[in-house]
Symmetry: C2
Subunit: 654 residues, 2 copies
């Protein structure tokens, strides 16, 4: 039998699991489904394919859907072998299902469910069927995701209050199981010790089921009153291989990398989510960052695709992604970046029509000057920060410039010359209009609002102006001085925007500032015992309220994807690994290590879209580099070395 996949209407699998994901948040026994439009899978589809059989062939279709196989002019039920003679054949597989997306698996040699099937939903023209490596088992309908499991035992058990506190040492997404526990016994699961011990405010508490188990939750500490029990955590996760490692003599830096890796891995399941306790939702901005960090840990393109497909949903577009206009914008940038990072032309081509319709939805929100303005119900988020929101919001225009850029580049990459010139001309015109309206020559920076006259200068607007290609080279220097390195401008307070800011510091070659800010901020969390990085961290917060957020005693997520950006910052600016891509030469890399921070370095990073590895170490003044990839370079000062695959290079830098 040949290799077969489960097939479905493209996007249905992602929409189904996105609903499961976005409905999975639990707060003190209450479900909290995400508060935006939830798009469903299709219920009635037909798979179709034409075969020219060189010899007779037999195949069997498996499906939980209601339906039948229509081979040429004959009908067959699912589950029974169908024999076709040599020659031309048309096969259509009719499926209807309500509780989950309809899918089929076709077992056979010549006729099987591999690439080449089309599918229609009776609404739009047929498209290539969806499939995924995760669903290749004939006996496992894709309505259930089979998580990998690993059993954890507590690393310490201490007596507390009227019972025992079990510490697993690391945070997990786990079902907790307590032996010899009567059903109904309350099991308190905490991200922090304080949370597990706080029977009133603990976010995740469960009454044990018949097996003494909880639901799957975010847990490091468990408290159960009464006698000491055998407690274990059944960690359930999506096994995305980690392809990077990093250590240096600087233990704090090493630990920041490790804790970041743990944080991102926990928040990378079927999708990139924000946090494992809260919200457990798929957010476009958070996903955009995880997608940037992914190449420096997993280099896994499939989680990108699953996440981007789930976020975007189906046409027509009627609301912004997560209700946030800038998250729609970042989605466009994400699709482009995914292509840039993995050379994934097939996915770019698949998504391009949806990029266009989302861009058209954004273009409909322009004012007479071309500036993006919000509609009722739109959230112009940008960051948890103050802005001067009078008139079109400056930071939003910067993100919108990123849309023009993503569209222009995507159209160009796909060879769509008409589209390319439309978006490229639009990009240039828009960029000029934004610079004319928002650049303040006297301040040497972009302002939040041209309409108010208040000329407020904030970091977010300027950082996005740098990020999305609005600022000129000259303005870049000015922004660095007047905004980013200017302590009079109110600081960034979220790890979310800290990523963007530190990325600009890195791009500007300010690695020292980057290192200092990073180690201060993330190191501060380590000092407070963080085993994963937090949604937000205020160095001034007293210990007794350090887990507070949104007015909730344990409202803060202690394992939050957007806090994992040191993986990127360390890899990209300290190790100096820049992943490159061009249409002509494909994937490559340039490594420019900043040896000031690299004493004792032992590291590996995925390169060549995750298919190859760069090994790098630095000890006693010797830098050792090797890779199995083509098109790798090491740059040391003024010198550039092209790496031959398979050879090991040593550079004495004493």
């Amino acid at each position: 039998m040949g290799d077969s996949f489960w097939l479905w209407y493209p996007g249905d699998m992602e929409l189904y699991y996105a609903m499961k994901q976005n409905f999975s948040r639990v707060e003190r026994g209450m479900g909290w489904p995400a508060f935006w439009k939830s798009e469903s899978f299709r219920n009635r589809v037909v798979f179709m394919r034409h075969y020219e059989l060189a010899q007779a062939a037999t195949f069997t279709v498996y499906s939980k859907a209601v339906g039948f196989v229509y081979a040429d002019e004959r009908k067959f039920p699912f589950g029974t072998p169908i024999r076709l003679e040599k020659g031309p054949h048309n096969i259509r597989i009719h499926c209807g299902r309500i509780d989950a997306f309809p899918s089929v698996y076709i077992e056979g040699d010549a006729v099987r469910s591999d690439k080449g099937w089309l599918v229609s939903d009776y609404d739009r023209p047929e498209v290539p069927a969806g499939m995924n490596e995760a669903f290749r088992d004939k006996n496992a309908d894709p309505d259930t995701w089979h998580f990998s499991e690993k059993i954890y035992e507590p690393v310490s058990v201490t007596t507390e209050k009227e019972g025992f506190l079990y510490d697993f040492g690391v945070e997990l997404t786990a079902v907790v199981e307590a032996e010899d526990t009567l059903p109904g016994t309350v099991i308190y699961c905490g991200e922090s010790r304080e949370e597990a011990l706080d029977s009133v405010n603990c976010y995740q508490r469960y009454e044990a089921d018949g097996q003494g188990r909880t639901e799957r939750c975010a847990v490091r500490f468990v408290f159960i009153s009464g006698e000491r029990r055998t407690v274990r955590a059944i960690h359930q996760y999506v096994d995305i291989p980690v392809r990077a490692s990093f250590s240096v003599e600087d233990a704090r830096l090493t630990r920041i990398w490790e804790v970041s890796a743990r944080t991102l891995a926990l928040c990378s399941g079927i999708f990139f989510i924000d946090g494992i306790k809260r919200d457990r939702w798929i957010w476009g901005g958070d996903a955009y960052q995880s997608l940037q960090v992914n190449p420096y840990l997993f280099a896994d393109p499939d989680i990108d695709r699953r996440t981007l497909t789930a976020l975007r949903g189906s046409d027509p577009v009627t609301t912004h992604i997560n209700t946030i206009a800038d998250y729609s914008m970042l989605w466009l940038a994400s699709v482009w970046d995914h292509y840039r990072l993995y050379g994934d032309r097939e996915y770019l081509a698949l998504m391009y029509p949806k990029m266009k319709t989302l861009m058209a939805f954004l273009l409909d929100q322009r004012d007479a000057r071309g500036f993006f303005i919000g509609r009722p119900g739109d959230w112009l988020y940008i960051d948890w920060a103050d802005f001067d929101r009078e008139g079109p919001l400056g930071a939003e225009q910067m993100a919108f410039a990123g849309c023009w850029m993503a569209m222009s580049r995507a159209a160009d990459a796909l060879g769509l010359t008409g589209d390319h010139s439309f978006y490229e001309n639009g990009r240039q015109e828009f960029r000029q209009a934004v610079r004319d309206a928002y650049w303040d020559e006297e301040k040497g920076a972009f302002v939040d609002s041209f309409a108010s006259g208040r000329r407020r200068v904030g970091r977010q607007t300027n950082i996005f102006a740098l990020r999305f290609g609005v600022a000129s080279e000259e303005e870049r220097g000015s922004i660095l001085r007047n905004v980013i390195l200017n302590s009079d401008v109110p600081p960034i307070t979220t790890p979310y925007f800290a990523f963007y800011e530190l990325d600009e510091l890195g791009k500007a070659g300010r690695v020292k500032e980057l290192y200092e800010r990073m180690t201060a901020y993330w190191g501060g969390m380590l000092d407070r015992g963080a085993a994963t990085f937090w949604e937000e961290y205020d160095p001034e917060a007293p210990a007794e309220s350090q887990y507070d957020m949104y007015g909730d005693r344990f409202g803060k997520s202690l394992c939050h994807a957007w806090a994992a950006s040191p993986l990127y910052l360390i890899g990209r600016y300290l190790v100096g690994l820049e992943l490159t891509w061009s249409e002509e030469t494909g994937a490559g890399f340039i490594c420019r290590p900043d040896l000031a921070y690299m004493d004792g370095l032992k590291a590996e990073f995925p390169v060549a879209c995750g298919r190859k590895t760069l090994k790098i170490s630095f000890a006693e003044g010797i830098l050792t580099v090797s890779t199995d990839a083509e098109d790798g370079k090491v740059v040391l000062g003024e010198d550039e070395y092209t790496l031959c695959p398979g050879r090991t290079y040593s550079f004495s830098l004493r």
Copy 2:
């Protein structure tokens, strides 16, 4: 506790059950989901309401959805009592569900799930929540429809072949249960004796489950090989009360009415479907006819609403109803007729926005002259018959004229003067354009095509020209002579279009021809042993192939809703009961019995939108009439009598 209903997003319940219905067709073990776009319910909704409580109140929310209650600024889980103090309160109930539509039931005195709740799907502005009398039990989630059940025993058991044939005497939608039957034993279920006995071609055969049962199917005859068993049929149905009765001395006419009543009742479940064996689907054209017949049997407005809501689905419109353009058109006519028949302003107002968007979808398909033309994928059905399909199809224009009329009248009824003048002007212009293009003065009839020059005259085009107000009074007479009463014009062959034709005969006062055609056609089926009326009947067909259709030995549906029109034809033209409605006076009726066919009449009919009854009998020259309704009249020849509610009138007509 006050009266509560389950609440959902309006339309979701109908879309969910419509999928179940349209996926329920089974042919020889194979599911055959309907071949058109299937629209799903919403998965994430929020119910909301503001209360001003005169005193403290307690309520409890029940739901199978994931979610919580947000009362003022506090969160509560489902299933626990929530107490609110006297004063103003905002309540929001958050729900997410994947396998079925999210719904809630709120138990309480002041706060409960009655009229007044709004609901949002995070896409469009909030709307009043949906509810239905069928779902009022707190313990019965609306994800399951609880059918009424009645046990039937066979009326005869005969030995046949190697086993026994069990005849229930009437057709049923039943689970068949055979006692002492091993699992896997094959149970053959037939609409006809021949089908049950044909082990190869029988449409519905089941392997008995552990209780010796089949699935719910369309069954009158059951064959099981082996010994004689105790067999019963558990008839499962939606209990829509029959409010009409009819009998006359003319046994054939009485039997036609009875068999029609049985036929329509079986095809009227959660929705009006076409047939109970096949297709078990909700078709717009079939529903349009059932909706016309409904007032003469059930006068049940709720099945109209459920069916029309299910057919129309959600916005945006992207395909025609059942893929058939004329079924989209008949849907518009149906919504208007439903209002006209029941004065159901609330439903008209609820549907009017969807009427407008569907009309806009149709208007987009006009050519330069305003004629409706099909797009790829559109089916212009009209009838199973030959047409001259060159250029815009005449019959389709006639149906389109009906859309203009429905829109104009609906806008007028809702007091939307701008819309009304738009649609009314459009209707008049369109009608003139159609008459200019399709009327053939020499033929004295409308032609199928003005483009071909072939001047083909067919019944369908002319019948729809009469039905949808295109023909002038003068043209009416001409069409009657030159088409309907002209045996040179190819006859109608489907009961579907026979309804429209006989309706025109009746309107023209040609009751004798109507009676003769009706008794010949439907009486012919009785002569062949019909216990319900068939999808199609050819008086010339030999008995051995009388159940053939679509090249299938038992492909013909023997219980088909569109064959139940004698209920309407007898009620409307023989009994002469015309149901009237006006904005000013509401519902009324005029009864003009044609006594030529009424000897021995004993009948009751629902009037006043089903709320009242007309009793009428005729024996030995005495016509006796009474009603509890206002605004009833009897017309006998030139004399008109207004009926006082509660009084019995006798007219001696010897």
